[in-house]
């Protein structure tokens, strides 16, 4: 198989495990390209990509932009903070206006779950979801699983604990879909208030004790507390959260095995993750960032190749 089953990457839920494997194999090749003296290939030189970000982003936006430039695509950037969205323009009007300037692909981040799905039904361009509200963040899940595969050889059969604010996390949902499609066992761990009510219906193990989660897993993916999405108080204080759910080196030292520590960023040091772990040899956080460019190159290349 040499092409994806879909014209868009809206979520991991919509793609197959064969698609994920193809993305990984293509990303392997792009990772090699990124280690060359000249890190650019001409594949997408006749493609124009619009990065439309209705929500703030540092890593994802930079990573997509770099991936697009490494593939020789023409890139236009749009962020809602300095646009006509503030003047009351609708999403479809904004995007149609951008598309009338002959844009072939749209990479979009939006605070509303389902926004990229809505777009995919209404416009012709290929859509890549770069995060839609609390729903999905497919490229993050792909690069997380790719980083696990790189570190441990395979994802199948591995035990992965996702720890932290699961309720507000699009990374958690995409990770659960992706890891399960690749044959990993998934556990979610966090305070009762930060776990969605019916999360166990996704076939994940639910745990509330972080030390038990660390003892169970091969990989711990630690998520940020998303204060910007929290309308009410889910826990008494950050200090208390950190005491109960913060991961530090002392906890890892009590384990009888080495586990891999991941974090999608941005890290709140001293809250969900201590510096002595984030900067330790257990952590593959910076590898995740590096792999992000290769994964996004693979996704854009494969989607552009679907006629």
């Amino acid at each position: 198989m040499s092409q994806l089953s879909s014209r868009h990457l809206l979520g991991i839920k919509d793609i197959t495990s064969d698609d994920i494997q193809l993305i990984f194999e293509t990303a392997d090749n792009f990772k090699e390209v990124l280690n060359r003296p000249i890190k650019k290939v001409p594949s997408l030189r006749d493609i124009t990509i619009a990065n439309i970000f209705f929500e703030n982003s540092t890593r994802t936006k930079l990573s997509f932009e770099l991936a697009e430039k490494r593939l020789s695509a023409d890139v236009v950037n749009f962020s809602s903070s300095n646009s006509s969205v503030k003047k009351g323009e609708t999403l479809i009007d904004t995007v149609n206006n951008i598309l009338s300037m002959k844009v072939d692909m749209v990479v979009m981040r939006h605070s509303s779950p389902g926004a990229p799905h809505f777009l995919s039904r209404n416009i012709k361009a290929n859509i890549v979801n770069a995060g839609d509200g609390t729903h999905e963040h497919p490229t993050q899940a792909l690069l997380d699983a790719f980083s696990i595969r790189e570190k441990l050889g395979d994802v199948a059969g591995k035990k992965v604990a996702i720890i932290g604010d699961i309720l507000h996390s699009r990374v958690a949902l995409s990770n659960i879909f992706c890891l399960q499609k690749l044959g990993a066992e998934v556990m979610v761990c966090g305070p009762v208030t930060l776990l969605p009510k019916h999360i166990d219906s996704l076939g994940v193990i639910v745990e509330h004790d972080v030390q038990c989660a660390l003892a169970w897993c091969d990989v711990a993916n630690i998520l940020r507390i998303q204060l910007e999405r929290q309308q009410i108080k889910y826990f008494p204080s950050l200090r208390e959260y950190s005491l109960y759910y913060g991961v530090n080196k002392k906890m890892l030292d009590t384990l009888d095995k080495e586990i891999v520590i991941m974090h999608p960023g941005p890290i709140n040091r001293g809250v969900e993750l201590n510096s002595d772990v984030a900067d330790s040899e257990h952590s593959i956080i910076l590898h995740q960032v590096e792999n992000g460019v290769a994964i996004r190159m693979a996704v854009l290349y494969l989607l552009a190749g679907v006629r």
Binding site: S2, E25, D28, E32, V33, P37, V41, S43, Y301, G305
Partner: protein, 180 residues
């Protein structure tokens, strides 16, 4: 399906040895020469050449595999996109003489893409092209081999298939077959 034998195992072996002697003649002790096999089928020829040079001249030569998929000019123009292969080049080619090796030279488009892909690893001093089979009168680009095993006349409706014992065939052989 109609099949016509172009080269048998013995003829291929003779050609590969001739290639090695020509290379030894042109490149002395290979101290500034590197070998690149063009994916996906060039590396098999390359491995044989590299092995034979070591056997004949007692010389180990630097070699790598080059994939030009991301540099092709038919992306989004094919029905199905091509799947990329591994590029494995652990040296820079800046100032080196490069021997680019493939099995069959047809339209010249793969070689054009390979030349493009290659310069990501530096500016070579010189590039030479070596192919087992040169399909005559089929070129889309002005590309000629410096070393060729055999030149053949073929039609658009035919393709040249190269069989290696390494890939599970009984004998090494090169055939011209009609496309299905």
């Amino acid at each position: 399906m109609q099949k016509r034998l172009v080269l048998d195992q013995q003829q291929i072996a003779i050609i590969l040895k001739r290639f090695c002697h020509q290379l030894i003649e042109n490149h002395d002790n290979f101290d500034n020469t590197v070998f690149l096999g063009l994916q996906p089928r060039g590396p098999i020829v390359l491995d044989k050449i590299v092995g034979l040079i070591e056997e004949i001249a007692g010389q180990k030569v630097p070699f790598g595999y080059l994939d030009a998929t991301f540099h092709r000019d038919d992306f989004r123009r094919r029905d199905l996109p091509l799947k990329a292969n591994e590029t494995k080049i652990e040296f820079l080619i800046e100032g080196k003489k490069v021997i680019l090796i493939d099995d069959v030279l047809y339209k010249g488009r793969s070689v054009r893409a390979a030349l493009d892909a290659m310069i990501a690893f530096g500016r070579p001093l010189k590039v030479e092209l070596m192919v087992l089979v040169d399909r005559k009168y089929t070129r889309d680009y002005p590309i000629m081999p410096d070393y060729y095993g055999v030149k053949v006349n073929t039609l658009e409706s035919q393709y040249v298939s190269v069989e290696w014992t390494k890939n599970g065939f009984d004998k090494d052989a090169i055939w011209i077959t009609e496309k299905a």
